[in-house]
């Protein structure tokens, strides 16, 4: 049960990551539409809940919630490390575009992706975020 919960947590964070433009482009070579993005995020939340249920079922009410928090952190770390350090599949035409997006120098996103695009936030964010640059 505990192992199942960990797998569900990893799946949840993979879904969260794939609902962002940059990682969806890098891994699936498709820019997700708003509908797809929402569905992936919903699936991610469901998986978070599944992980909680599975781990509490496996470990009981005292240790289950603690371990669930630990599983969430570990799963996020695993997804984070694998997204950033495992090489992506060989680039298609769209995959190449992705490397530009990641570097912050790619073409501006279409308006539909404004809220999640890396390029807008990092490249042409009109407000200079002072705190964002602070150590």
């Amino acid at each position: 049960m505990t192992a199942l919960g960990f797998l569900a947590a990893i799946g949840a964070f993979a879904m969260f990551a794939l609902s962002t433009d940059a990682h969806a482009l890098a891994r699936l070579h498709v820019r997700p539409t708003g509908h797809v993005r929402r569905r992936r995020r919903a699936a991610a939340w469901v998986l978070v809940a599944v992980a909680f249920a599975a781990i509490v079922a496996g470990r009981g009410w005292v240790y289950g919630p603690i371990l669930w928090v630990g599983a969430i952190m570990a799963a996020a770390a695993i997804v984070f490390l694998s997204l950033n350090f495992l090489p992506a599949a060989p680039g298609t035409a769209r995959g190449k575009q992705r490397s530009g997006v990641l570097a912050g120098s790619g073409p501006a996103s279409p308006p539909a992706d404004r809220d999640r695009g890396y390029d807008r936030r990092r490249g042409v964010d009109p407000r200079p975020g002072p705190a964002d640059r602070t150590g």
């Binding site: 505990t2 969260f16 990551a17 962002t20 940059a22 990682h23 005292v62 240790y63 603690i66 371990l67 928090v69 630990g70 599983a71 969430i72 952190m73 570990a74 996020a76 770390a77 997804v79 984070f80 490390l81 997204l83 950033n84 350090f85 990641l102 570097a103 912050g104 999640r116 890396y118 936030r121 975020g129 002072p130 705190a131 964002d132 640059r133 602070t134 150590g135």
Partner: protein
């Protein structure tokens, strides 16, 4: 308005993180290692066999104490867990009225090994050193050390909370790591280690303050308890002490008592205390093992030491005491099985990297704005050198500590203390290097030396101890195997970071140091 608030939080974050950042780094690093306190106790005494029969060890402990400390006022026996090197026993000798001076603390403790006899292992503090150093530091009065650590923890809480406000984009940029991009990479690495472990960091900082709360904020206790003893009675209930009767009576066998206590307490026993052994008024108190429950304040049951009849059970703790106990338990993580331990350890590693990267980020960020990068101002140079001395030097010193444990002659006088002296001598040497060499050189040298030292320990174990990695695998004894593999992984990580640092050539016109090693850092450095 919002911008002003975030800016003020950014400054708060910068300075609360920097001022005690070096203390925090050391506290975080030792606390992280201290999650392996018991395994390290055993790993640092490689001549000891694994405990297979805890009841036999307890019987041996009783026999040993009756022989060597029959006249003591109290015995304490720590029952061995699966990872412990044996049963640690110590006793309080009966105060002599005049005449002979009291014996030193070393004469009142012993380790009972797997075969039930007192062992002659090398004298070492083992994992206990990291545990105590985590909140008591060293070479200084405990009370000052705890105040310093407590204040550092408060700064940490401030730094975490203001950091959430400051870097509020971290939650949206969650999966982002821009590599080899100088300040960006450092910031991403700092954010990633912070956000990934955020629940852990918050919990640790807060519960860490709870462990020191009676010292840091005594007002509630002062207002409610006029006598400190009453507070301790309320917090740590214990059976009324009985005066010695003077009539000798043999002590009951402890093994059936412990078995009975385990049924009454609902979990494995961890600790046995015998007062007035060998007297008709003897009392035996058994506490539940802290590893078996979340509350760190274990319930106890007391028996008559002659008849073996139970006479007292600790009351069920009330809500406030239980809350505090659970928080301390959460902090120490003793309740956890191996899975939880690893999660704690990795969380601690992430926290250590977070503090380290935050400290380095301070210099990386300011270097680009220096009016004259060739001759930075005093404050900048101080922070830069301190970073090398602490972030680079302390892991190096820890590696030297482990080597001292392996290399100092077993018969050496006050050997355990010299192991610790070795750690601090290595740290002083690293600090000297940091103040004299160019920072880029010193970083590479210290990280590389740390990596090499850590990675070579498992080889030394194979060649010179009975607990080498292959021998342990053959014996099915997984604790030393796991420890040695962890040393190898950390050694490799340090070497990888050192290589990145050594190969780094500042890009662009402005000379910059050590920009890149974020990815290797994330792969896990920092003890």
């Amino acid at each position: 308005m919002s911008k002003g608030f975030r800016q003020s939080q950014a400054q708060l974050h910068t300075w609360s993180g920097l001022l005690l950042g070096w203390v925090l780094f050391v506290v975080f690093a030792t606390g992280t290692i201290a999650f392996w306190r018991e395994p390290l106790n055993r790993w640092m005494r490689p001549e000891l066999a694994r405990v297979e029969d805890p009841a036999g060890v307890l019987h041996g402990a009783q026999a040993f104490l009756e022989g060597s400390a029959g006249d003591a006022t109290t015995w304490f026996i720590t029952l061995p867990g699966v990872q412990a090197p044996g049963a640690q026993v110590f006793w309080i000798p009966r105060p002599t009225t005049g005449g002979a001076p009291a014996r030193g603390p070393r004469d009142t403790q012993a380790m009972i090994g797997a075969d039930g006899t007192a062992v002659a292992a090398r004298d070492t503090r083992g994992g206990e050193f990291f545990y105590r150093f985590h909140f008591d530091l060293y070479y200084m009065p405990v009370i000052y050390a705890r105040w310093l650590v407590g204040i550092a923890a408060m700064f940490m809480l401030v730094a975490i909370l203001s950091g959430i406000v400051t870097h509020k984009k971290i939650f949206r940029d969650f999966f982002t790591l821009r590599r080899a991009k100088g300040q960006r990479s450092w910031l991403d690495g700092h954010n990633a280690t912070a956000v990934l472990g955020l629940p852990f960091h918050l919990m640790m900082t807060y519960t860490g303050l709870v462990t020191l709360m009676a010292m840091l904020m005594p007002w509630a206790t002062v207002a409610n308890y006029d006598d400190e003893a009453k507070l301790f009675d309320a917090l740590f209930p214990h059976v009324e002490a009985v005066p010695r009767s003077g009539t000798p009576a043999p002590l009951v066998d402890l093994r059936p008592l412990v078995r009975d206590a385990e049924v009454r307490l609902g979990g494995p026993a961890g600790f046995v205390e015998v007062s007035e052994p060998g007297d008709a008024a003897a009392r035996v108190t058994v506490s539940r093992a802290p590893g078996s429950m979340l509350d760190s304040r274990a319930p106890k049951v007391t028996y008559d030491g002659v008849t073996g009849r139970p006479i007292w059970t600790s009351p069920v703790p009330r809500a406030a005491a239980r809350t505090a106990g659970v928080m301390v338990g959460l902090h120490a993580g003793r309740y956890g099985d191996l899975l939880i331990r690893w999660l704690y350890f990795l969380g601690g590693v992430a926290g250590t990297v977070m503090v380290a990267s935050g400290l380095v980020l301070w210099t990386v960020k300011r270097r680009e704005k220096l009016p004259d990068p060739a001759r930075p101002h005093v404050g900048f140079r101080l922070v830069e050198r301190l970073n090398v001395a602490v972030v680079g030097g302390f892991p190096f010193a820890v590696a030297c500590f482990f080597w001292a444990n392996r290399l100092l002659p077993p018969a050496m006088e006050s050997r355990a203390a010299w192991e610790v002296h070795c750690l601090f001598m290595a740290w002083v040497a690293a600090t000297l290097l940091a103040t004299t060499a160019r920072p880029a050189r010193a970083w590479a040298a210290l990280l590389g030396a740390t990596g090499a030292l850590l990675a070579l320990i498992p080889l030394h174990n194979i060649a010179f101890t009975a607990r080498g990695i292959f021998a342990s695998i053959a014996a099915g004894d997984w604790m030393p195997v796991g420890a040695d593999l962890t040393f190898l992984v950390f050694g490799a990580a340090f070497l990888a970071v050192a290589r990145r640092v050594a190969r780094f050539r500042p890009a662009g016109r402005r000379p910059r140091r050590t920009v890149a090693p974020t990815n290797a850092l994330l792969a896990e450095p920092a003890e």
